[in-house]
């Protein structure tokens, strides 16, 4: 089981701010590594695109453990939705190789709602 929490429980972060939280895992099998990734992705009518912006890797983790993380939130792109595409942010916890994942959706931008470009 994997869980992700931000400090204070918020999911809105301003560009240039600090995203802090804790990743916790209880694995059924040994993993090569645990990665915590801050990334954006697009979804909509076209081909999906993904950009991993920051990541923290824990090699050969214990089956149960936790790791506090801290990411500097980049200046952009903001979370937005247009007519054809949404750009969304998330932080993800993944057990490698190719194991369980947990994702926490985020809003990145000057306001606590995604930008509407329609």
């Amino acid at each position: 089981m994997l869980t992700l929490h931000t400090s204070g429980g918020g999911t809105w972060f301003k560009p240039g701010g600090l995203l802090e939280g804790r990743a916790t895992w209880h694995l059924d099998e040994d993993a090569e590594a645990i990665e915590i990734r801050l990334f954006w992705y697009t979804a909509g009518k076209g081909t999906q695109d993904v950009g991993i912006v920051r990541s923290i890797r824990v090699d050969m983790p214990e089956r149960s453990g936790h790791r506090d993380f801290s990411f500097l939130v980049p200046e952009g792109p903001y979370s937005f939705s247009g007519k054809l595409v949404t750009l969304a942010w998330a932080v993800e916890l993944i057990a490698l190789p190719g194991g369980e994942t947990e994702r926490l959706d985020l809003q990145i931008g000057p306001q606590p709602v995604e930008v509407d470009l329609r």
Binding site: A43, G44, Q48, S81, L117
Partner: protein, 200 residues
């Protein structure tokens, strides 16, 4: 540029968004993956998945790639690729050995000479599977046929709450897109987003 985008309007929440379509599994018309493996062995480990555009060839190829043993090499050739053989060669390991399984998505983009080069380059590979619009270059592994029942099934999976309202229109949609299911689903994206005359 300030109001909150509602769930129905967000492209990411559209049930026909591409990331949801890509997660669909191939409706194999009674043929299991195990059955396909057996067929692939029967035809010497080299075969083509044949079918028109949007009939599920690429989806099936991906499923095979995730299930077949060996080190997978997947080459995707789309219409935007000006030099398909160069792209293919660039993706293939040197040398291709019996540890490799090679998948070519869009094999019809390789001309006759390039196809012969591909066969020569990959002769040691454990398996070679390509998608094609027409049979003939290798034994046919399976033929994907467009089917209205498959479209109906996929719509029910993607948008269960709208499926009943959409059902009477699917035949017309399927016909208008010439049986190209992927193209049908792309139009349904616009329908759901309120950007098409075809409403439900």
């Amino acid at each position: 540029m300030s109001a909150r985008v509602t769930a129905r309007e967000r492209p990411a929440d559209n049930p026909f968004a591409s990331h949801r379509i890509e997660r669909l599994v191939y409706r194999a018309d009674g043929t299991s993956l195990v059955g396909l493996f057996e067929r692939l062995e029967e035809i010497g480990g080299r075969g083509v998945i044949v079918g028109p555009k949007g009939s599920g060839k690429s989806t099936l190829l991906e499923e095979l790639a995730s299930a077949l043993p060996g080190k997978q090499v997947v080459v995707q050739l789309d219409g935007s690729c000006p030099r398909p053989w160069q792209q293919t060669k660039h993706r293939l390991p040197t040398p291709v050995t019996a540890r490799h399984t090679v998948f070519i998505d869009g094999g019809e983009r390789l001309g006759v000479v390039a196809w012969k080069r591909l066969l020569r380059t990959t002769r040691a590979a454990a398996y070679l599977v390509a998608t094609m619009h027409r049979p003939g270059r290798l034994p046919t592994l399976i033929e994907c046929r467009p089917d209205l029942a498959v479209l109906s099934d996929l719509v029910s999976e993607l948008a269960p709450t709208e499926a009943q309202a959409l059902e009477p229109h699917l035949g017309q949609l399927f016909h208008r897109h010439g049986g190209n299911i992927r193209s049908c689903l792309r139009e349904l994206y616009d329908v759901y987003a309120g950007r098409s005359n075809f409403q439900f």
